[in-house]
């Protein structure tokens, strides 16, 4: 599978939010304004990319030699949680401005299922390390796309005469559902038609 095919797959066809329903919590929680949404998207992209490579290494250099593949979920959670903590410290030290922008979202990502999801999908699909890196990057970009689109919609929704019972999260879920329907238009045939396989 070419790298472009992986990018297209995770950004559009298997978008984490709209077709896999992973990482819904920050998607709803942090999509109230587009500035925060971009911050959250950037943090998630960063973490999925780094976590993909590191979990790939852990899996193939530690779990496979000892035939402990069944431990992947436990070890991946351990890896991701510590990785995010470490990242938080590093960012705080190196760039206080970036820390201020991302700082509050990083702990949210610790237990974000999108990050664990891409780590496990990389392994299930049997990617090599560069493919895993691309997969992580694409998953993050797909998440960013979804959350930024959503935040723009929600900013507009705030100004609309929405019925009281639907205001806030309920209408957000309905909008998310409609966007998800739209994303269903992207499917595997896109990749075959573009002759990317």
């Amino acid at each position: 599978m070419s790298y472009i095919a992986i990018l297209l797959t995770f950004i559009f066809i298997n978008n984490f939010i709209f077709s896999q329903f992973l990482g819904m919590c920050p998607f709803i929680g942090v999509s109230k304004n587009s500035e925060n949404a971009i911050g959250m998207g950037a943090s998630v992209t960063f973490v999925t990319t780094v976590a993909s490579v590191i979990t790939w290494a852990i899996y193939y250099f530690l779990l496979v030699p000892f035939s402990l593949e069944y431990l992947q979920t436990v070890t991946f959670i351990l890896v991701i949680a510590s990785l995010v903590q470490l990242l938080e410290m590093v960012i705080q030290k190196i760039s206080p401005a970036l820390y201020k922008a991302l700082g509050i979202y990083l702990p949210l990502i610790t237990t974000n299922c999108a990050v664990l999801g891409i780590a496990i999908i990389n392994i299930t699909n049997g990617y090599n390390v560069m493919e895993a890196f691309t997969g992580g990057l694409a998953a993050g970009l797909g998440f960013t796309l979804a959350i930024v689109l959503m935040s723009n919609i929600r900013e507009k929704l705030d100004l609309q005469p929405v019925r009281k019972a639907y205001r806030g999260v309920p209408i957000a879920f309905i909008s998310a559902g409609l966007m998800s329907l739209a994303f269903m238009a992207f499917d595997k045939s896109l990749i075959t038609n573009l002759h990317l396989v």
Binding site: T75, L86, Q92
Partner: protein, 266 residues
């Protein structure tokens, strides 16, 4: 054998990450401003947000950077201002002493003096009752007596008296305004603690409408304002307000003359 291996691998990984993180924390520790470290412990720590910052720690950081003035913290009061000024090396002029504000329920309505639109039977919560036609009282700015303010008060300053009215213990009130924010009818107001009188009505409806639904509401008749110009009362949109700072020598007479007796001595 496999199980032993699994335990070892997970334990070793956990150990490496644990030690790695604690080591990283030491190496990457960010030095905090000593002023912030000194300010944080003296803050009230209830994170009420009256100062306009996200919490006590955020306000302390802003003060330490010189972005915020000291004295925005109403729960802390003058004591905190003095302590913060000492840490920041600033001088506070005692003349600008702030008058303390306390929460007060601006309504004397109850089942006997006010009419009800319907009987409310449901969740003991003002906001829940307010969803149904703005509460059971015909007056939509009345105190609903369901006690959302009691639940939200961080210092247990709000309680019910024997007659069921909501009362505020002014010694305990720290002016955090949480009750003002949660009250759906807006009947909770912040008034100056040293005010001798309060006009306990919250209705801006014209007199006729108020008369129909309540016998103790302010009808906006302006007797206090016109007949007793020295009473300190002024009427705006059919509701009188009392100001302690203006001349108020005639307030006792005005209270006596008020047709609905809504000027209450505190």
């Amino acid at each position: 054998m496999n199980i032993v291996m699994a335990i070892i691998v997970v334990a070793v990984l956990g150990g490496i990450f644990g030690f790695g993180l604690s080591f990283a924390e030491k190496r990457l520790a960010v030095k905090k401003d000593p002023k912030v470290l000194a300010l944080e412990p003296i803050m009230p720590g209830i994170n009420c947000g009256v100062c306009g910052y996200a919490g006590c720690a955020a306000y302390a950081a802003a003060v330490a950077l010189g972005e915020a003035p000291i004295g925005l913290c109403s729960p802390g009061g003058p004591d905190l201002v003095a302590k913060m000024a000492e840490i920041m090396g600033e001088k506070v002029d005692a003349s600008g002493e702030t008058r303390r504000k306390v929460a007060h329920v601006m309504c004397r309505g109850n089942v006997e003096v006010s009419s009800k639109g319907y009987e409310y039977e449901g969740l003991e919560d003002c906001n829940a009752a307010f969803l149904l036609f703005g509460g059971d009282y015909s007056c939509k700015t009345a105190c609903l007596h369901l006690g959302s303010c009691i639940k939200v008060c961080p210092t247990d300053a709000i309680s019910r008296d024997a007659e069921g009215y909501i009362i505020v213990d002014e010694q305990k009130c720290i002016s955090c305004e949480k009750c003002v924010q949660i009250c759906p009818t807006g009947v909770m107001h912040m008034i100056y603690e040293d005010s001798e009188y309060a006009i306990e009505c919250n209705s801006h409806e014209p007199g006729g409408k108020v008369r129909k639904v309540c016998t103790v509401g302010c009808i906006g008749c302006k007797i206090c304002e016109n007949k007793y110009p020295e009473s300190g009362c002024s009427v705006d949109k059919f509701l009188a307000t009392f100001d302690q700072t203006s001349p108020h020598s005639q307030i006792a007479d005005a209270a006596e003359a008020c047709p609905t007796k809504c000027i209450i001595k505190r």
